[in-house]
C-alpha cells in the first residue's frame, strides 16, 4: 500500500517538476534588469565582436538569444514571462505586434544616429513615423542560379524563365507559403498580397505547371546544397544568396522584373523589456556608421544605413543585385499582414501545389 502511495506521489511530483521546468524555460531571459540587456535576434545576424564592443563602451552585459522564425519569436513575447529588451522582427510581424500592443514607443531623442538611415527606409506603412521600430537589415526575394549549368537565354529577367523546359528537375523552392505563392502571383502580374481568391487560384494552377522543373521544396538546407551545385536554380532571400555566392563563385543572383518581395527587419523594444534605457543605447549603437558597416560585412545582408554605405566597398554598395536603386525598388512589394484566415488560405493553396508534385 505504502509503495503504491509513493508511486502516486512520484507521478504528482514529476508533473510538478515538469511544470516548473516549463515555466522556467518560457521565462528565459528573465534575468534582465539594470546593467543587463537581453537581445532576441535571428541566428547569424550580428557580428559577435560588436556585442563585446557595446559591452565595453556602456558597461552593460548583453544576453544574446536567437530565434528562427517570426512566428516563434512572436509566440514567446506574446506569452509574457520573457524579458527581452530588443527583438528584430520582420515588417509584417511588427504590424501584428503594434496591433496587439506588444511594443514600447521608441524615444527618438535618444536615437541620435537615426539621421544615418536613408529616408527611403523610414516612415513606411507598417510603422508610420517609426514610432515603434528602427531599420536593421533589408533585402529582397529572388533567384540564385548557376549560369554555367543552364542555357544562356535564361537570365531570370522574368519569373516565367522558371517554367522553361530546359530547367527540368533543376529548381529548388523555399518551403514558405508566402514566398512561393508570392512568386506565382508576381509572375502573373498580380500583387503578392492578393486577397482575391480567383487570383490565388490562377497562381496555384500556374505553379502546378512547374511540376517537372521543381527538384525539391526545402528550408535552410538550400544554402549548402546550392554551394555543392546540387541544383542549378533556387528561389531564395537576397541575403542567403549572398552567403551562397561567398562560398560558390559560379553563382549569380537576379530579382525578376515583374516584381518581388521587399522585406525589412527592424529593431523593436517589446513591452516586457526590463532595461528600456539600455535598449535605446543599443539601437543607437547599431546605427553608428562604422558599427553598421562592420555588421554588414560580417552578416552579408543589405543595410539601410546611408552613412555606413560610404565606408563599405564600392563594389558591394554599387551591386544592383543586393542594393537595387530606388527606381528598381518601385515594383517590389512589402508583405502585408494578411491575418490568420487569409494566411490559412495561402497555406491550403501551397499545400495543394506541393501535393501536385511528383
Amino acid at each position: 500500500m505504502k509503495s503504491l502511495l509513493n508511486a502516486a506521489l512520484a507521478i504528482v511530483i514529476t508533473c510538478g517538476l515538469l511544470w516548473f521546468a516549463a515555466s522556467k524555460l518560457e521565462a528565459s531571459g528573465s534575468a534582465g534588469g539594470e546593467g543587463v540587456l537581453t537581445v532576441y535576434n535571428w541566428g547569424e545576424y550580428i557580428d559577435p565582436a560588436l556585442i563585446d564592443q557595446f559591452e565595453e563602451e556602456t558597461g552593460i552585459t548583453v544576453i544574446y538569444e536567437t530565434f528562427d522564425s517570426n512566428e516563434a519569436m512572436l509566440t514567446k513575447i506574446r506569452q509574457g514571462g520573457s524579458a527581452y529588451d530588443i527583438a528584430v522582427p520582420s515588417e509584417y510581424t511588427i504590424e501584428t505586434m503594434i496591433e496587439e500592443d506588444l511594443l514600447i514607443e521608441i524615444d527618438h531623442s535618444k536615437i541620435t544616429n537615426l539621421q544615418n538611415i536613408d529616408p527611403y527606409f523610414l516612415d513606411l506603412p507598417f510603422d508610420p513615423k517609426n514610432k515603434y521600430s528602427i531599420p536593421y537589415f533589408w533585402g529582397t526575394v529572388g533567384i540564385v542560379y548557376n549560369p554555367n549549368k543552364i542555357p544562356e537565354h535564361i537570365t531570370f529577367d522574368s519569373w516565367d524563365d522558371l517554367w522553361d523546359p530546359a530547367l527540368k528537375n533543376k529548381v529548388f523552392l523555399v518551403d514558405g507559403a508566402r514566398e512561393v505563392m508570392g512568386m506565382g502571383l508576381n509572375s502573373l502580374g498580380y500583387s503578392l498580397n492578393s486577397r482575391d481568391d480567383s487570383e490565388l487560384r490562377e497562381a496555384t494552377e500556374k505553379l502546378k505547371q512547374l511540376n517537372g522543373n521543381v527538384k525539391a521544396i526545402i528550408g535552410d538546407e538550400i544554402t549548402p546544397l546550392m554551394i555543392n551545385n546540387e541544383a542549378a536554380v533556387s528561389l531564395t532571400f537576397s541575403g542567403q544568396a549572398a552567403d551562397m555566392m561567398g562560398e560558390n563563385e559560379e553563382l549569380d543572383f537576379a530579382v525578376p522584373s515583374e516584381g518581388s518581395n521587399l522585406w525589412f527587419d527592424n529593431m523593436v523594444i517589446p513591452k516586457t523589456a526590463q532595461n528600456i534605457e539600455g535598449a535605446h543605447l543599443f539601437i543607437n549603437f547599431m546605427l553608428d556608421a562604422e558599427v553598421a558597416a562592420q555588421n554588414a560585412e560580417y552578416v552579408g545582408y543589405s543595410i539601410p544605413n546611408k552613412a555606413a554605405w560610404e565606408l563599405l566597398d564600392k563594389e558591394v554598395i554599387n551591386d544592383e543585385r543586393f542594393y537595387p536603386p530606388e527606381e528598381r525598388r518601385s515594383n517590389l512589394e512589402v508583405y502585408e499582414n494578411l491575418g490568420l484566415e487569409l494566411l490559412g488560405i495561402y497555406n491550403e493553396y501551397f499545400l495543394e501545389f506541393k501535393m501536385s508534385l511528383n
Binding site: 502516486a8 507521478i11 504528482v12 512566428e71 518551403d175 490559412g344 497555406n347 499545400l351
Partner: protein, 267 residues
C-alpha cells in the same frame, strides 16, 4: 485483498489519466475550435475535402510500403541472427545505429544520395550518368526503411529466439519440407513478434514529417507534414488537431487489425 488489488491500480490510472487521456482530450477539444477560439465543426468538414483525403491515402500507401520492405528485410535478418554463434553481439551491432539521433542520420543521407555523393560516384565508375536519387520517393522509402529496421528486428528476433527448436526437428522428422516447416511451424509461432514489429513501424511511419522535407523535398506529403504546417505556419491549431484526431483513429484501427487473437482449442 480486494481493496489492495484495486488500490494497486491508482498509480497507473493516474498516469493514464494525465498522460494519455488528458492529451487526447485536449486534442479533441482544440479540433473543435476555429481561428477565433469559437466552437465549430468546420475543421472536420474541411478534412473531408479531396486534398486531405488524398493526403491520408498517400500517407497510408507510403506507411504500407515502408512497413512491407522493413518486414521483408527484417524477418530473414532476425532469422539468421538467431543462428549465429554470438547472436546477442550481432543484435547489439544492429541496434547501435538507432542510438544516433534521427536527424543526424537523415542529414548524412543528403550527402550520401547527393549528385556528387558516394552513391553517384559508384554509378559513374560503371559508366552511367549520375542519377537523381535524393528528393525522390525511392530515397524517402529507403531512408525510412533504414530507420525502422532495428525496431522491426527486435520483436521478431525475440519471438524466433524463444521458439523451441525441437518443434522444427519434429516437423522435419515427420517429412515436412523446409518451406512447409517455415510456413506451418516457424511463421505461425512467431506471428506475434511480426505483429508488434508492424505496429512499431506502421504507426510512426504514418506521421513521419522531417524526412518528407529533407529526403523527399516535400514531394511526398503526409499527414505529419500537414500537422506541422498547420501548427507552425498557419497557426491554425484547430485544423492541426483535427488531422491529429484522424491520425489517432487510423492508428487505433491498425492496432485492431494487428491485435493478438485469442487462441482457440487448437494447439
Amino acid at each position: 485483498m480486494k481493496f489492495k488489488s484495486k488500490a494497486s491500480l491508482i498509480p497507473y490510472l493516474l498516469w493514464v489519466a494525465l498522460f494519455v487521456i488528458a492529451p487526447i482530450g485536449l486534442i479533441l477539444y482544440y479540433s473543435m475550435l476555429d481561428l477565433n477560439g469559437d466552437f465549430t465543426l468546420a475543421n472536420y468538414q474541411n478534412f473531408f475535402t479531396p486534398a486531405y483525403l488524398t493526403m491520408t491515402l498517400t500517407s497510408f500507401w507510403y506507411a504500407f510500403l515502408i512497413t512491407f520492405f522493413t518486414l521483408v528485410i527484417s524477418y530473414p535478418t532476425a532469422y539468421f541472427l538467431t543462428k549465429m554463434k554470438h547472436k546477442h553481439l550481432w543484435l547489439m551491432l544492429i541496434i547501435i545505429p538507432s542510438w544516433i539521433n534521427l536527424l543526424l542520420k537523415t542529414y548524412a543521407f543528403i550527402g550520401i544520395f547527393g549528385l556528387y555523393g558516394p552513391v553517384n560516384a559508384i554509378i559513374e565508375v560503371f559508366g552511367f550518368d549520375p542519377k537523381q536519387i535524393l528528393f525522390t520517393d525511392f530515397s524517402f522509402v529507403f531512408v525510412a526503411v533504414y530507420i525502422f529496421i532495428p525496431f522491426m528486428i527486435i520483436p521478431i528476433f525475440n519471438a524466433l529466439d524463444k521458439m523451441n527448436p525441437s518443434l522444427i526437428y519434429a516437423s522435419r522428422d515427420l517429412g515436412a519440407s523446409a518451406f512447409t516447416t517455415f510456413r506451418r511451424v516457424i511463421f505461425p509461432l512467431t506471428i506475434e513478434g511480426v505483429k508488434s514489429g508492424i505496429q512499431v513501424t506502421f504507426i510512426p511511419a504514418l506521421s513521419l514529417f522531417m524526412i518528407t522535407r529533407l529526403i523527399a523535398g516535400n514531394k511526398v506529403i503526409t499527414l505529419g507534414t500537414a500537422i506541422e504546417q498547420q501548427f507552425l505556419v498557419a497557426q491554425n491549431w484547430g485544423m492541426g488537431s483535427t488531422i491529429a484526431v484522424f491520425l489517432i483513429l487510423i492508428m487505433f484501427a491498425s492496432m485492431l487489425f494487428t491485435r493478438t487473437k485469442k487462441k482457440g482449442g487448437r494447439a
